[in-house]
Subunit: 439 residues, 2 copies
Amino acid sequence: MNIAIIGGGAAGMTAASRVKALRPDWNVMVLEKTNFVSHAPCGIPFYVSGIVEYFEELCTYDVAHFRSERGIDVHTNARVIEVGDGYLVAEENGRERKYEWDKLLFATGSRAKRLNVKYEELEGVLCVNDITNAEKVKKWALKAENVVIIGSGYIGVEMAEAMTRLGKKVTVVEMAERPLPEYDAEIAAVLKTEMEKFVNLRLGERVVAFEGKDKVEKVITNKAEYRCDMAIVAVGVHPNTEIARNFVELGKSGAIKTNSRMETSRENVYAAGDCAESINVVTGKSDWIPLAAPANKMGYVAGVNMAGYELHYPGSLKSQITSFYGLEIGKAGLSEHEAIREGYEVVSAFVTTKSNARYFINGLVHLKAVADRSGKLLGIQAVGKGVAMRIYAASALLYRGANVRDLFFTDFPYYPPVSRVWDPLVVAARNLFRKLGIP
Amino acid sequence: MNIAIIGGGAAGMTAASRVKALRPDWNVMVLEKTNFVSHAPCGIPFYVSGIVEYFEELCTYDVAHFRSERGIDVHTNARVIEVGDGYLVAEENGRERKYEWDKLLFATGSRAKRLNVKYEELEGVLCVNDITNAEKVKKWALKAENVVIIGSGYIGVEMAEAMTRLGKKVTVVEMAERPLPEYDAEIAAVLKTEMEKFVNLRLGERVVAFEGKDKVEKVITNKAEYRCDMAIVAVGVHPNTEIARNFVELGKSGAIKTNSRMETSRENVYAAGDCAESINVVTGKSDWIPLAAPANKMGYVAGVNMAGYELHYPGSLKSQITSFYGLEIGKAGLSEHEAIREGYEVVSAFVTTKSNARYFINGLVHLKAVADRSGKLLGIQAVGKGVAMRIYAASALLYRGANVRDLFFTDFPYYPPVSRVWDPLVVAARNLFRKLGIP
């Protein structure tokens, strides 16, 4: 059997490894357009700030490992330009080559969204989510003095910290009225206050153009203009589906439609990772969740099924955490405004307590829990101290379809320096009890 | 209605508050034998080491708060000496008084086990779990030079750190072959190595007697003897059931039998907290789980039901975390040896990985997951870094009856400084897949 995998990122390499582990005799070929495999772009902000010293550390394993240890036929600098039934054509080192496949996986990932405004192509206007330009971002970052970051999603927030740590003057321009707009206003407000200590945070502003001669010198918004030597566009990502879109069906999101075995609309063709849709476990609907951990698991499931076994991907929760100068922020499931947009009739509780026992010095945690009228949990967000452990727990509860009683009664471990005897999660549940008429 | 509550600790005060919140017109009386209410003995080691400065901080709220803010009729220094149908007799300030009740709650807590060996009554042989002697323990600790701690459960481990932080020479004597014997050997081994850096850890030794003239001078074991100026007996607790035992049925553990409404065998009589049995959520059987967070929730449930509403306590998981000089240790559900003792046919996975992304400096986490042959999760233990968040998540999964697929597919948030794209929990699940024949 010939297995072809387009894309050597998290999903592609996990799938390749899985097929080879289950079917050592099969040929497994990975075609990767860059020079790198199993690249981990989540680490780029830490590479830019210098916490991660070497660029190579951003790749979990190198090509040689996959070839010699796992027996995977990895082709780097191999750009697939055509896919047809049972074959594909790749451009490798300037030459076109045709390969046959019995089973195919699209693991083509995502790419940074552009603003599509004037002079965005100027030198010094950079995106961050692509491993190939991590070194370029770092080089520009080191010599810049004024940096404008456009967007305050996870990457925008993390780059804001990285750049200020490097001593740069940073302006963050965000279209929405708050940073991390996926979060509800109560949570984002805490982050906003913290960000404003370090950066010039411009909310409710839309970038309309860049300006500069040889390189970017100015970012123009609908309200003002900001001088800069570098601009980072971090306004989200698109699924990479150029090759796939004429071959398999796409979903509403623009990513490739899949079922729980990561099969596409075409037999023997699979999709996994940032280019693929999957199930949002909270809503039960198809969603597009381009995140590293789900990408790895989709790749794992695709690999098992391509190898002729059966494993189903139940979907993910969009669980995430990040931090800004020690202020942790995390979310699993839906925020209140996302839940309302999805049509739920919601109740929510917002609590602020210390993160651990009152007699220990430590910070506060602000936590919001959202449920529907039946008591089903829809999402949990938190900001402050001790966020990671609450979002880990929230992920487990949401994944298992928990309701507010489960949130209340789950036996969270109490250890005074770390947690509270009435955990903020439990206090939030108790508040929801009140709103739902539970005594 | 007259509500009488015996015991003003976590369970008692929570129940009292709940009844008053739901039935402001009812009389709610709490009889507490000490001078303190809502005392939190979990904090004693931190009070002894000086991290918690004032003894009063160990009580969440004071008596005045419960009286004036919550309208609860709190009697301190009130020892109940007799209970009969509809009445009880208490000794208050040297006088016996009789009270009538329509509903009664036993929230009498637990007390430290004694070794029952020779000269245990010597001055300087102290227990730690009782709020009334916290100041005494501290006073002795400050002047002692050599301290012997008997037992290496949670209290023993925490007191070992507290005492060495105070500069004492500490010997820990443990009957079992490892510290924290509830944990499996792989986990305990990591703690053992760490403890041996700070204390003289004597495993497999049984204390047979104390010696001394006016005060303790020596601890004698079956193998050796240790000079000391102070000995701490931390070998577990007993439920306090002296008054209850002739009035309501006790369970196998010796604690008071309850149903999920915290009702005892006698109508209108409830029990909650360390004196009561409840359900072990993993085994589904009655168990005795004397821990602070479950005690509070049992008190809450008892209060709701005593107030005439209905709420069921589903039980707990014995979830716990502690730490020893920064080494975190935690557990939810059963260890492998506990699961075997319960009759399960088990599979287990023990993994050692970094706690966060490989390119960040941080410690290792050692994690063990135990499941039965059907794949049902039975317990998770961990030691090292990032333990709290994994045990929080494990608690949520175990509480919701998760299996190994759930452990694998739960969408844990990935943020490089804090977690891993393949979380140790997920890696452990993958190991279990192999043993259970899941591809």
